[in-house]
């Protein structure tokens, strides 16, 4: 999933400070699962914002709404019924959702209430960790199902570097050494031999380095 974290209240309050009425929009997908911007968090932020402004004698009217998906135009269309009369939209979705609202409602300011963090998996309740960088050319088949690009701090394709200690990365004892994990997995799968094949330099064009990316599926076009 795409993970996110709420922005500091001060920053959010700075965005909506000039507004009298806002539409606070959550998303029922990834940000709900990582407890950053689902219906629950929308309620909490709404309450916090209203109290924060009430302190200075200002009544901020907050309309709360959580869409099924903020990154799809069909769902964003639902905002048509709600958006009139509000001064701004505050989105609790990932950056994709914020931008989809901005694209659909050209003359309405839209502000992010969360920082979109990374594509990750839930390690345990309340803990998420990065797993994928969307490089556009998956190497997991060669690395025992553990991604060196997302999980090695130096994205080495021929790791581990000399800083690997006791299975941990040199940057922090809280970070696993991806190449240690890859090696353990290769051993478990009997893939030790393939370790010594040099992974050649990558073509990063499939990643962000090639410019903003797009997927076009003619077969699905309406």
């Amino acid at each position: 999933m795409i993970t996110a974290e709420r922005k500091p209240m001060e920053e959010i309050m700075g965005y909506v400070e000039p507004c009298q009425r806002i539409l606070l929009v959550g998303c029922n997908e990834c940000v709900t699962v990582c407890a950053a911007g689902g219906r629950k968090e929308v309620g909490l932020l709404s309450s916090a914002l209203q109290m924060a402004f009430m302190k200075s004698g200002k009544v901020l009217q907050v309309k709360e709404l959580t869409l099924e998906r903020q990154c799809d135009p069909e769902y964003v269309e639902e905002l048509v019924r709600e958006i009139d009369g509000v001064d701004a939209v505050l989105s609790m979705a990932c950056g994709c959702g914020v931008q989809e609202i901005a694209r659909r409602f050209r003359d309405k300011p839209v502000f992010p209430a969360v920082n979109t963090s990374f594509m990750g998996a839930s390690e345990r309740q309340g803990v998420w960790a990065e797993r994928c960088q969307g490089c556009g050319n998956c190497v997991l088949g060669l690395t025992g199902g553990i991604c060196p690009i997302a999980r090695c701090s130096k994205r080495l394709l021929n790791g581990p570097c000399g800083g690997s200690t006791g299975g941990k990365c040199e940057i922090s004892p809280d970070v696993d050494c991806a190449w240690h994990l890859i090696w353990e997995r290769m051993k478990a799968l009997g893939m030790e031999k393939s370790y010594e094949q040099v992974m050649p330099a990558r073509d990063w064009r499939t990643s962000r380095d090639g410019g903003p990316r797009k997927i076009v599926r003619e077969d699905l076009a309406l």
Binding site: S153, K154, R155, L156, L157, N158, G159, P160, C161, G162, G163, S164, T165, G166, G167, E170, I171, S172, C177, W179, H180, W183, Y195, E196, V198, M199, P200, A201, R202, W204
Partner: protein, 307 residues
Amino acid sequence: MKTDSRLEKVLKTGGLAVTSECGPPRGAVPEKIREKAAMLKGYVDAINVTDNQTAVVRMSSLAACIFIRQMGLSAILQMVARDRNRIAMQSDILGAYSHGVDTMLCLSGDHPKFGDHPMAANVYDIDSVQMVQMVKQMRDEGTFQGGGDIENPPKMYIGAAANPFADPFELRVPRLAKKVTAGVDFIQTQCVYNLDKFERWMAQIRERGLHEKVHILAGITPMKSAGMARYMKNRVPGMDVPDELVNRMAGVPKEKQGAEGLTIAVESIERLKEVKGLSGFHIMAIEWEEKVPEIVERAGLLPRPEV
């Protein structure tokens, strides 16, 4: 001979090579480089110049290498994958070679987190193994990564690092083998304090015949104090300092700890000279360059050959 590198020539004689390093200054002060290099003149075969080591900004390795070349000494350009993409790397290699820098060391580099710019983007377009491949391709095929031909290809003698002490230990020789496959000519190792473990590592290297394909120089760093020994043991990732060494340093009065550190370095070299397959020593006296001549002399590594 693949190159005109002085280090390659020394290694070809079959004798033990000696290299040292100097860290460029944190400022536009070329005198500092010249001072450090002058201390090493006649005592080492080539001088490594670090590339923003520990991710702290310093004068560029390339510029400092040029100063060393201008003094008639041989410089080894260190290059880390952290700060440059392959366009910048190849461009710097052309520049270095044009200035007579014909030996280089390909490194991943310390993560920016450790340095004075933890907020900087880290590049890692390619890794150190791929960098070795790239430099070899430039030298032997005369082509850039993009496929274009190079006019007067840079004949670089290619080095890389190895850390025999990092984990997992069983991967240390296979990773070196990858660098050999990629085309590395020489290896400079991480500082060796745990001699037993280093000898085990060398035994594995000989078992696979890797010592016949690559020249290995053991890293030697004299310790200035017991405090430094403790710091290296506990704080530097991938460093293996045995307790007995820390205790030995701590066992002498503070003012004599430096001398003890030098003696340990000399003893280490003398013991490692006997290790079959080892081609020399890389003496990294961190901000203590003035002691390198003493170590080289006491370890019986003089005179340096004329090649």
